[in-house]
């Protein structure tokens, strides 16, 4: 069964369906959380929260408004970003030191790329963005920075970052749109 059908059953309290859904989405959820949060133990904790929240809030899922997987990954991303921001706030000094060794986000993405058609596709599509579009999008999505922080890191005006984010996402849509 597909994630969308399973999520509807889960919304009705079906624990068996949840087990099956877990099999489908735990990898994407954990991978995304780990990409943003980095720390393995914290990633596991955040993933657990997300998956439990998935069970709890399944009745709120509206199939008319998008796919189950995108609803679930949006939830996961939001929680991961929350966690990485509070961790960052707590270790601001370390963060400043880390910045000196910071490599562009895309290099890290590229470095982690393993086998897999989807990874390859995303990478190829990211390659088609301009450098500023790519950095604006990946610093926010993969590293959890706010657009204000992105602007600061890239020494760009806020308006430019907003536009680059929008154009970057739209260009990704054109490139990845056919794959689903």
């Amino acid at each position: 069964m597909e994630a969308d059908e399973l999520l509807v059953l889960v919304a009705g309290g079906d624990q068996k369906a949840f087990e099956e859904l877990y099999g489908l989405v735990s990898g994407p959820v954990f991978g995304l959380v780990r990409r943003v949060v980095r720390d393995p133990a914290q990633s596991e904790e955040v993933s657990q929260e997300v998956l439990l929240e998935l069970w709890r809030s399944a009745p709120r899922f509206d199939p008319g408004r998008g796919s189950a997987l995108s609803w679930i990954l949006t939830l996961a991303h939001r929680r991961a970003v929350d966690r990485v921001r509070s961790a960052r706030a707590a270790t601001e000094r370390e963060q400043r030191e880390g910045q000196r060794n910071h490599r562009p986000a895309f290099d890290q993405v590229a470095e982690e790329v393993e086998a897999g058609l989807e990874r390859e596709w995303v990478r190829r599509c990211l390659d088609r963005l301009t450098a500023l579009q790519r950095q604006s999008v990946t610093l926010a999505y993969y590293d959890g920075y706010t657009y204000r922080e992105v602007a600061e890191r890239l020494s760009l005006p806020l308006g430019t970052v907003k536009t680059r984010m929008r154009d970057g996402l739209t260009r990704l849509r054109d490139c990845l749109g056919g794959v689903a």
Binding site: V122, T138, T146
Partner: protein, 262 residues
């Protein structure tokens, strides 16, 4: 509409992409969420851009640790799903004791893997609170939910609870290895005259140690429980709490079934 408003409005429209990337925070995020409710154009744009952003997650999938599955599935068995406000009222009503129930105190205990009335009480109270509270408080609630989920997730987490004839009850999910417990009260109401319910840890040959004050229906997370703790007790204390109990307990609960006091 003033020039400023127009500028502000245009400024807000342009935040759809940062919002879709979860790159807004604080007041700016709240302001944009308010704007979204009334701006059809932004709502549509956010929906489309969010789908685009999710594509970036495709490249990140990774196998989660095997233990995560067990913990999540265990927690799922214990956790009720969100319900409408009307359903919640019904759940609460179902928790009220009936005349037919045995008049004696009845301890309930079981490993966490099987849902118990006590654990359900803890979880139901927690999420009932979450549903009824204002949105601004959710962050704080979420932090607490995280702590509670943390206790629930411990491999040795166990649940127990008691409720007396008049419906006054206490429920606890505790982990001896984490030395933590989540405690909920039911049927005690709010003490009059600004007084509070205070939770105490009872240990042999030692003075009771305060574990904190209850805030309405909200579950209390108690840290640093000693392995030799024998019971929990709740007393009514003056505003702000006391150093030591000044009244006799309104409810008390033995901890041996949850791995303490051995």
């Amino acid at each position: 509409m003033s020039v400023l408003d127009r500028l502000l409005g245009r400024d807000l429209h342009s935040l759809a992409a940062p919002y879709a990337l979860d790159a807004l925070e604080g007041e700016e995020k709240r302001r944009f969420e308010r704007h979204l409710k009334g701006c059809h154009r932004c709502a549509e744009e956010v929906r489309a851009l969010t789908e685009d952003a999710v594509r970036l997650a495709w490249s990140t999938a990774a196998a989660p640790p095997a233990a995560l599955r067990d913990r999540v599935l265990t927690a799922v068995r214990l956790t009720p799903q969100e319900q409408s406000a009307r359903d919640l009222t019904r759940v609460r009503a179902a928790h009220q004791p009936t005349r037919a129930r045995a008049p004696r105190l009845r301890p309930l205990f079981a490993p966490l893997a099987t849902a118990t009335a006590a654990a359900a009480l803890v979880v139901a109270a927690l999420f009932a609170v979450q549903v009824t509270q204002a949105r601004d408080q959710l962050d704080q609630e979420r932090a607490q939910a995280r702590e509670i989920a943390h206790v629930l997730a411990a491999p040795d987490a166990r649940a127990t609870g008691e409720r007396d004839q008049s419906g006054r009850g206490i429920g606890v999910v505790a982990s001896a290895s984490e030395r933590r417990a989540v405690v909920t009260l039911s049927g005690l109401g709010t003490p009059s005259g600004g007084r509070v319910h205070q939770l105490w840890l009872m240990r042999p040959n030692e003075n009771p140690r305060s574990l904190g004050l209850f805030d309405g229906d909200t579950p209390l997370v108690a840290d640093g429980l000693d392995p030799n703790s024998t019971s929990l007790a709740v007393t009514v204390e003056p505003h702000g709490g006391s150093q030591q109990p000044t009244t006799s307990p309104v409810v008390q609960l033995a901890l041996e079934t949850v791995g303490f006091g051995e």
